[in-house]
Amino acid sequence: MIQFSGVSKYYDGDVVLKDISFTIEKGELAYITGPSGAGKTTLLKLIYCAERPDTGQIVVAGWDVGKLKQGTIPFLRRNVGIVFQDFRLLFNKTVFDNIALALRIHDMQPREIKETVNNVLKDIRLKHKEHVFPQHLSGGEQQRIVIARAMVSRPTVLLADEPTGNLDMDTSRNIMGLFREINARGTTVLIATHNNALFHGTGRRVLYLNNTHIEKEAVG
């Protein structure tokens, strides 16, 4: 589902990723870990084409991402749900509208949108906050809204960048539970985190990113 072959990425001549190759299978739930600044976010950005690789090839859900034309990029992104490290919630829209936006982009009928968003709000147990604006929510609640927005359109791939940021253990476990559910419904999930506790004992594949390359691969 996600395939990197010999991918390198430079920022102004500084190498961030060098000769990276790995494959994430369809239906897998995998982790990418590494210290701050290792290039986890950059690696995810390459997947949804917010950055282009300087060398190598990236294939996501059948799209050769490095070669996509500008006009095609939105169609790749509709297959990829993204939980951004910096959330990217719209503060002039309610919780409901923030989540619904992902479906409006997919040109879904208003009635269908209402039903789908309500269901997802129940899944994340935030139905009672649907008319609230994001700035009035706690960090954990905002995090769940971002996850809800990423999964509501049922993407084939879900990318989560540091989805438990600085949340307490209980909330983190809660959120990881959401990812397992999404994964169980067939979505391929890739989670980037520096927090070992998240994958410890999960039995899932973990890619260790360090010093511009994948240092090792192990089972968490």
């Binding site: 949804y48 939105p74 990217r88 719209l90 982009i105």
Partner: protein, 294 residues
């Protein structure tokens, strides 16, 4: 379809939330369109007055003193066959005196002093309207004056050329002013939409990352620009109608024939104003949104 509805909702929300800057833009656009349309109306009116005036333009062909009736008839036949000539009127010596008498009025008695009729007989020719250009008329006059039996050809040379110059000046300045105003309308809308676009830059960035197409991103801005143009057009159409009605009502007191003299803008002209406003504003907002890169 849902995209269009959502874009409409977004545009309407933005129009309402930013009502003051939108109102200002709409008014600027409508003032521009009003100046443009009034100027065009004035130009049309002046031009039609000039045309009406030119219609009365004639060329007088004075004949040789001793020309026979037969020769006169031949000349007349020649003129009638000429496709450039619309109307031919023969004025005999006697008629010429009668007309002169009429125009002299109470001073006509001075004609009684003369024992012989000094006036030549003549033809008055009306040329086709398309030919009423100074150079063309001059050429025609020279041609006719070379004909046998023709003494002299007279026409209002100066008058015709100043009429023509005036008409040309008016039309050229209408075109220049028109273009300047059209550009101004594009720019006014461009400016406003650009401001809105920058204010929502972060939101647009997020939309792109969520997989929004260019159309999805652009549409609300284009709709808002279109709204500005149509609203501006409607306001200026109403204003133009008001001004025109006022002039033709008040003007009657000063110049009773004003109603028949004045050319009223037809319904199509009002529709055109709205259309021009719409197209120009849409162009402005299109440029403002610019190329969207992912």
């Amino acid at each position: 379809m849902s995209t269009l509805i959502y874009a409409l909702q977004t545009a309407m929300k933005s129009i309402w939330n930013e009502k003051w800057i939108n109102l200002l833009t709409v008014l600027s656009v409508s003032i521009g369109l009003l100046i443009l349309s009034s100027f065009v109306t004035v130009t049309l009116n002046v031009d039609s007055a000039l045309k009406r005036w030119a219609k009365g333009f004639g060329m007088v062909v004075y004949l040789d003193e001793d020309l026979t009736g037969k020769a006169e008839n031949e000349l007349k036949k020649l003129f009638l066959q000429d496709p450039d000539i619309l109307e031919v009127r023969y004025i005999s010596k006697e008629q010429a005196v009668r007309e002169l008498r009429l125009s002299l009025g109470e001073n006509a008695s001075i004609l009684d002093e003369l024992d012989e009729n000094p006036l030549p007989s003549s033809f008055e020719l009306k040329l086709k309207r398309e030919l009423l250009k100074p150079a063309v008329v001059k050429k025609k006059a020279e041609q006719i004056s070379r004909l046998k039996g023709v003494e002299e050809v007279q026409y209002g040379e100066k008058w015709l050329s100043s009429l023509n110059t005036l008409s040309t000046i008016l039309k050229t300045s209408a075109i220049f002013l028109g273009c300047a105003i059209l550009v101004a309308i594009v720019f006014i809308t461009y400016n406003t939409i650009k401001i809105f676009f920058y204010r929502r830059k972060d939101e647009i960035e997020t939309l792109k990352l969520l997989g929004a197409t260019r159309t999805f991103i652009r549409l609300p801005f284009l709709i808002e620009g279109l709204f500005i143009g149509i609203a501006g057009g409607l306001i200026s159409a109403v204003a133009l109608f008001g001004i025109h009605s006022m002039i033709s009502f008040k003007g009657v007191e000063i110049l009773p024939s004003i109603r028949t003299l004045m050319v009223a803008p037809p319904l199509q002209a009002y529709i055109l104003i709205v259309l021009v406003g719409a197209v120009m504003s849409l162009t402005g907002s299109f440029i403002a949104v610019g190329r969207i890169r992912y």
